[in-house]
Symmetry: C2
Subunit: 402 residues, 2 copies
Amino acid sequence: MTQAAQLSEILAQPARRSVSLLGATGSVGASTLDLIGRNADAFKVVALTAKTNVAELARNARRFGAQTAVIAEEGLYGELKSALAGTDVRPAAGTAALVEAAMEPADCIVAAISGAAGLAASLAAARQGRRLALANKECLVAAGDLFMSEVRRSGTELLPVDSEHSAVFQALAGESQSGIERIVLTASGGPFRTWPVEALANATPEQALRHPNWSMGDKITIDSATLMNKGLELIEAYHLFPVEPDQLDAIVHPQSIVHCLVEYRDGSVLAHLAEPDMRTPIAYALSWPRRMSTPTPRLDLVKLASLTFEAPDLKRFPALALAKAALRQGGLAPTVLNAANEIAVEAFLHRRIGFMDIARIVEKTLHRSTHCLSGRPASDLEEVMAIDAEARELARDVMAHS
Amino acid sequence: MTQAAQLSEILAQPARRSVSLLGATGSVGASTLDLIGRNADAFKVVALTAKTNVAELARNARRFGAQTAVIAEEGLYGELKSALAGTDVRPAAGTAALVEAAMEPADCIVAAISGAAGLAASLAAARQGRRLALANKECLVAAGDLFMSEVRRSGTELLPVDSEHSAVFQALAGESQSGIERIVLTASGGPFRTWPVEALANATPEQALRHPNWSMGDKITIDSATLMNKGLELIEAYHLFPVEPDQLDAIVHPQSIVHCLVEYRDGSVLAHLAEPDMRTPIAYALSWPRRMSTPTPRLDLVKLASLTFEAPDLKRFPALALAKAALRQGGLAPTVLNAANEIAVEAFLHRRIGFMDIARIVEKTLHRSTHCLSGRPASDLEEVMAIDAEARELARDVMAHS
């Protein structure tokens, strides 16, 4: 780089960006704070939130000089207050405080609360009209139409944090919509990719939790073993990118190095590759349209030697087919799919159902839910939450009677 | 796509783009005309040129309603004139006419004359300040500094047509220079990738011409077998993209599906993949920043199943190391490298030297040339041509005495 170019880059550098982190003690939260800690000159922390881990939340709020620390579990307020005694950090607790934290002005809000619990806060963050680095899948899966209309209305810069969606975002940079033929997400195939299909019925939670490449929470690791995770990601991709459901597909790639393939109408395919490390997509979301340095391991294709690909086996992974069907159906079908899946995965983790029952319960719940047929989107978050709750009830009922 | 989006795309569509094609009867020329023929509403032809193939040139000039047809070989003027009798196509012949064709106003000039013969015409095209779709390697290899300063001065949109450089251009879209760590080009490894090194000395031209993936001219196919082609491409990449020599490297990828890897400082790698078909990069250069449809075969990773990578073996491929050294040396070293290589490849094709002699002759010529040490770029095309001629003489002399 010439000196003039270096100087103009330095001058173009914005002041420290203020960041709020909803879900600071999960794996995305920890990776985000690792990056912020390494780039203290570039970022300052506004609000940090956590579900129940008071000690970790308070430790990080002190370390990063947060303005606010919110614990979602209301009963833990006293504990948080004591842990923050003698600091300038304002403690708060409860779900309303979570939403308020999302409303505090910040240049970038990282929405990393997992599950439906993150919906209201992520939606509040989307209404700020600044930048939203989104790691909460449920916003797009359960309330995609609603969420995206808020994003568009407010002019929020929506940057996906999921590695696959960040990959697609990068592979689409500078492209016009008409050139895109297909977006293909990769799936590792999880721990059961090579198991005999008959053996899957007896797979245990311990076996399902052994993800070959990524270290993630339990729920998402089970979703990776069923490939429901990839199905949910196709639904997310539909809301994030300008494509129709039939332009989206998944391919199995056991090494988890290629994260997406965007196919263009001239025969070009742009792929995003990286060693599996969440700090890469998080860094991209924090620093876009520039790129910040990360200490992530660098890709070494000579060492990897081979990247392999195969079609997903839908007998082995019926959840993927269910998610694709819900995507085509649109409206509230993905909301029901997601809720039923959360219930089924929880039951599997508690050994109340077998591995292959997960997809079976989701399928039966989808068939029995009357909301899946209309194709109508939810009119507000309350409706999404009501249908989510109803679908959970329905899934429990399906489970009890099967 | 919404109707409004479709309409705005249609309104954004420019009028028919005028295209001149320098080197219309080679493989890039034929692929370009194939695309223009399929998109007659989008393009019109200004000038077509060829070296000696009068019949093909005249046939295409008639078919595409060219304004001018130029045959480089002056003695073929009469033949061309007869072949175009009764049409509105203006015939011309000789190297001066070639340069004049490059100066005729056109929205896009495809410079696809191979070898040093294309230098003057490509440089004239670069001076137009419109779009130059560049397939002539020598502009960048032999006269890179000079050529790029003309491109910058005139504000010409330079779009590379080489598949690897088009791939890099695409993988760099929307990125800022500071984010780039490394640009890696892929090489198939050619037909001798798995031969015992000892056997290479006896490799015949027929064996060297059996390229596993691409169908190209003889000279470039031999360069692919020695990996000199990849070395020349690294030199081109240095001139085309904002990187230093040590940020450029090559990796062997026998399937020729991945064409480049651009590594960013956040750990992301953007790769371009496509089935080997020159129509993909040509279409990109013609239609950029939009993408036009092509009838090229679509990538099917499930069918390919595996993509493999290995480090280039510099014992087997010393030409790659020579090209890298010339790149680091800069100035006129690449001019000498390129000229010596052309002479050595020609001698190999005529069975006057062995396969492993190609790199040996290039190396000795580089050592003996006094122009390689200064690092000074050529001041004009005449100097480039003089040094090119001198290096050819030197290479012949090296050959005669070894």
